[in-house]
């Protein structure tokens, strides 16, 4: 089991992510907009930022390995100021990961493939083929 913690998701970082993503969704930038739409009184962390937390955990746990694929389901929201914990359980380079808002609300589950080699390559450099 590997674990990574962020105490207090920073609200001010969300503008940077929105700019990089080309995302003008007001729930990430305006607490009033988030509250009006039922998310609560704080801004909502962009989903890719939450995924980055899981990747941080995986990179720290398996230094030097490449991420080959990620499959993720977003189950809930992280709000500014939340404390989050990323946890991973490893099997031969495959990490079953989840992000939890403290104390125990799972908001993101993912499988991160950091296996060595290309044994599951599709011949074009990818280990998966999406339908």
């Amino acid at each position: 089991m590997s674990e990574w913690t962020l105490d207090g998701v920073p609200a001010e970082a969300m503008a940077l992510w929105c700019a990089a993503l080309g995302d003008d969704n007001a729930i990430h930038l305006d607490p009033a907009a988030a509250e009006a739409l039922g998310f609560g009184p704080r801004t909502v962390n962009p989903g890719p930022t939450n995924l980055a937390y899981l990747l941080n955990m995986a990179m720290e746990a398996a230094p030097g390995r490449q991420v080959r694929s990620v499959e993720a389901a977003l189950l809930g929201n992280v709000l500014a100021g939340d404390t989050v914990v990323a946890r991973g359980t490893w099997t031969d380079g495959l990490c079953d990961a989840e992000l939890v808002v403290v104390p125990d609300r799972a908001v993101l589950k993912a499988r991160i493939d950091m296996t060595d080699g290309r044994e599951r390559d599709d011949g074009k450099g990818f280990c998966h083929q999406r339908p």
Partner: protein
Amino acid sequence: MSQFAIPQGRFHLSAALDDAIRRSCAAPARDGEQAHPIFAFVAALGGLGVRVGDLCRGLGLAFDKGAVLGRCWIDYAAPLTVDTGYDVAAEIVALERKASRRFGAADHLTLGMTIGTGGQTHARVQLTTIMPVVA
């Protein structure tokens, strides 16, 4: 969905942006030229030929009523590197209306993107954005 062709876009992944994104999410500092792996996703959306909100609005979807990311898949063929420009080709994979516990009904828009440079594909991304159905 072919009538909603998405123009090809481009994403410049600067070292400064990688540094800033890493700081913002408490990631380890970059070692060498490889960008944080989340940049496959960031490039996919940030390099889209149209802003994702405008795409959704153009499709008549309620992006401004609380759009959230539902699922995503990222397949990497090669790491993305800093100070590199990437071409982003995108298509609409699916647009489905489903029952929703939160909204009653919701539209699920799935986009597929290919990120590459110099004719070499570096990553493929699929992401599903969920938006409420507004009468």
